[in-house]
Symmetry: C2
Subunit: 457 residues, 2 copies
């Protein structure tokens, strides 16, 4: 089959697999993201290993002469055991997935409500703090106990355990119709704070671990650490200031720019540029930059317009590729020797997050049931945990075996959260289809209503 046809087949396969698996997941009361990762695990080396099938490992001809040369060269090499074309396709999917994460975190940024966050106040903040401190120290300690080096593998495991997924918590709460309850608001606020602190923590850990890696050339002195913290602060200050001060004006100018989809193109350029600069200048994760770009665009009066344009792009193509690619990259067969570490980490992830949030909320004013609900609502790690694990794997901070453990941990915590919440809150008696509302879906429905209105007039 020709190269282009293979690419089309893979894209069709990934989109169909993701959406169908997500919907099945929803039908059984789980968040869609669970099904999307699970189907990736099935398609990946754990079960079917689809990308290494003959169908994709060989290609009839390439439109691009350049690609031909590259693959021809790779085929000639003796050191290559797997097919060059499979490798090219894996690289392509990986690149599309990376764009997907960056867009996903931009959307998460867009959904972060700075004003609402301020009102949620003390309880949400201390619930979030408890839910960060306990998993962080718990995860790092247990990893050291299992023989992983403190710098940076154990610390990074702790960092991954601090994550909480805004989208999964929010979707579960919407499905249970308790998003606007006292606990719901606290969970959402705490999840957002957890998200922000978690990303800053990730930024610090990746920056500091980069210092560690660079010590082959020079000693990782305290001066270098301070320099990196300064660069991080400078990045946040400059890009935040520029964003707050100029983004809205630029949007106004761009909207009258004589080009099709000029505003969305501008948004993509800013999101990608912030992501690029975060990693290139400040040693932060690229997603930290696109998240900040999202927060900044949400402050402009173009928020709804941007949201309605970026959601189709993000959720129809790039994000499904990201979720499926997570499963595609994890190899469940490599878990054999790690089974006790896996079980301990999964239990630790659930218990430390629940307990930390419970204590934080209980001490600052909630009763036992309310605090328990908040703790349960924060357990899901979702895509945020995967994104952080992804960064660690990409930068070589954690190895493939830990990455696979983290994927299982995310799967279990993602799966268990809606089940726990269902029993902690009063039941809802309605068909799943009616109450299903993902964050992406809300916007989707909104523009469907617009389209319908359009047709009627």
């Amino acid at each position: 089959m020709e190269h282009l046809l293979q690419v089309l087949l893979i894209l069709v396969g990934i989109i169909v697999a993701a959406k169908v698996a997500g919907a099945i997941s929803v039908r059984y009361g789980q968040p869609a993201v669970f099904g999307e990762i699970a189907i990736g695990l099935i398609l990946g080396p754990t079960v079917l290993n689809v990308l290494d099938w003959n169908l994709f490992s060989h290609t009839a001809s390439h439109g691009a002469g350049a690609l031909n040369t590259l693959l021809g060269a790779a085929d000639q090499s003796d050191s290559l055991n797997v097919s060059a074309h499979s490798l090219y396709l894996k690289g392509l999917i990986q690149d599309l997935a990376e764009i997907g994460v960056i867009l996903l975190m931009f959307v998460a940024g867009m959904e972060t409500d700075l004003e609402g966050m301020k009102k949620v106040g003390k309880i949400a903040f201390w619930a979030a703090m408890g839910g960060i401190l306990l998993p962080f120290f718990g995860g790092a300690s247990v990893s050291v106990y299992f023989g992983y080096p403190l710098y940076w593998e154990a610390i990074f495991v702790g960092t991954i355990l601090t994550a909480t997924s805004v989208s999964i918590s929010a979707q579960t709460l919407m499905e249970l119709r308790v998003l606007r309850s006292r606990e719901g608001t606290t969970i959402l606020g705490a999840a957002v704070i957890d998200d922000v602190l978690g990303i800053i923590l990730l930024g610090a850990v990746t920056a500091l671990s980069a210092v560690g890696i660079a010590e082959q050339a020079e000693a990782a002195g305290i001066g270098t650490v301070i320099l990196i913290i300064l660069k991080m602060s400078l990045y946040f200050l400059v890009f935040w200031f520029v964003g707050r001060r100029y983004l809205e004006r630029w949007c106004e100018v761009i909207r009258n720019f004589p080009a099709s989809q000029a505003l969305l193109a501008f948004v993509l350029v800013i999101a990608f540029s912030y992501a690029w600069a975060a990693e290139y200048f400040a040693h932060l994760a690229a997603i930290t930059g696109s998240y900040m770009a999202g927060v900044l665009f949400a402050q402009t009066r173009f928020k709804e317009e941007i949201n309605s344009h970026i959601h189709p792009l993000t959720y129809s193509l790039f994000v499904p590729i990201f979720f499926v690619s997570i499963g595609l990259r994890a190899n469940g067969r490599e878990l054999g020797g790690e089974i006790d570490f896996l079980i301990i980490i999964v239990l630790l992830a659930i218990v430390t997050k629940m307990l930390g949030c419970f204590v934080g909320a209980r001490v600052t004013g909630f009763d036992n049931l309310e605090s328990l609900r908040v703790g349960m609502g924060m357990v899901s790690r979702g895509e945020v945990g995967l994104i952080i694990a992804n960064v660690g794997l990409g930068r070589g901070i954690i190895a493939q075996d830990i990455f696979s453990v983290m994927v299982i941990m995310v799967l279990v915590t993602t799966m268990i959260t809606p089940i726990m919440l269902r029993y902690a809150f009063p039941p809802v008696h309605e068909a799943y289809g009616e109450v299903f509302e993902s964050i992406g879906q809300v916007e989707d429905k909104k523009s469907e209503d617009e389209a319908r209105r359009e047709r009627q007039t």
Copy 2:
């Protein structure tokens, strides 16, 4: 720089270059597509050769282990003179551009009005026929005269010359405020008919030339040709029937599917599947399939909804990459020896299209001025000509030198059309910004209005 950062930098560069060059082009009264191709020529091997700069030819590390292996293998090969990483990036851009063409032709299909096309009737049809026959035989004859083989290089040059771009004609007519005039309607109708016939002609030529290539194994007997025509007919019948009968129902089901952006994901799956099947089963070009998928979706009551979702995806990212990549792939430096062929082909492209359409319209009822306007409005080859040339290059039917001639031909015809039309129609006295409306822009403005309405309520 790390691989992901290089990818982000390239995407940002391409989007900014495309939109700015397009806007400059619009400011000087030319269609945006002219500027987007021109900037690609400047960034490509003709002038700057950006992708072979050191910035992109080497990479610090890759997120994907697979990519590392591939590039490592390619670097070891003696046969490779250019950097492996530049080649990988060119392959990536090429793949994104191919997705861009498929989406672009899907959108063109969405804009094809089957009912309106029937009403435009005889004049539009014969103008289109004249504008296909004369350029086809003219282009093929001149190519043979210049020593190119009739099968299939000369015939393919003729096929490229038959193209007319709906989007460029439509945009120019909108800017001149004559889209709804008698000539405007005829031009648009004829352009659509030209598009459909041209794509069928392209399908036939690529199918027949594939027979020619396959004759190394077996004689290209008349039986094989009939078999291919049967497969083409079967493809059109089956996929048209399935689309007309089931697409609307499927859309209804999918819209209630518990997944984010389910409808758009479904549209992408169908567009990519039709494109895949067109090439895999029927030897047609992949774009023929996505064009048909677009025509079919336009017949459903979900047309506006799909349009408002697919435009952001298409025009913000993939289509700019396609237009710029056209220029990136053409090497103007290779034109030296072909200068007389180039000049003759460009003049021929303008004269045969104008004369053919003039005769077709004049014979069936228009007066001299009206027929001349129709002829002028059909000269622009735009992205359709480039898409066909792209297919020919990808399949090895035409070589790089002819491809470069075709890019110049498209640039000149695209540039000359708005200028000719401006003098043929009464002048418009308004700022360019107010009258600028591309087809993508119309949808854009529509959903901006919706977003504004949304904000007010």
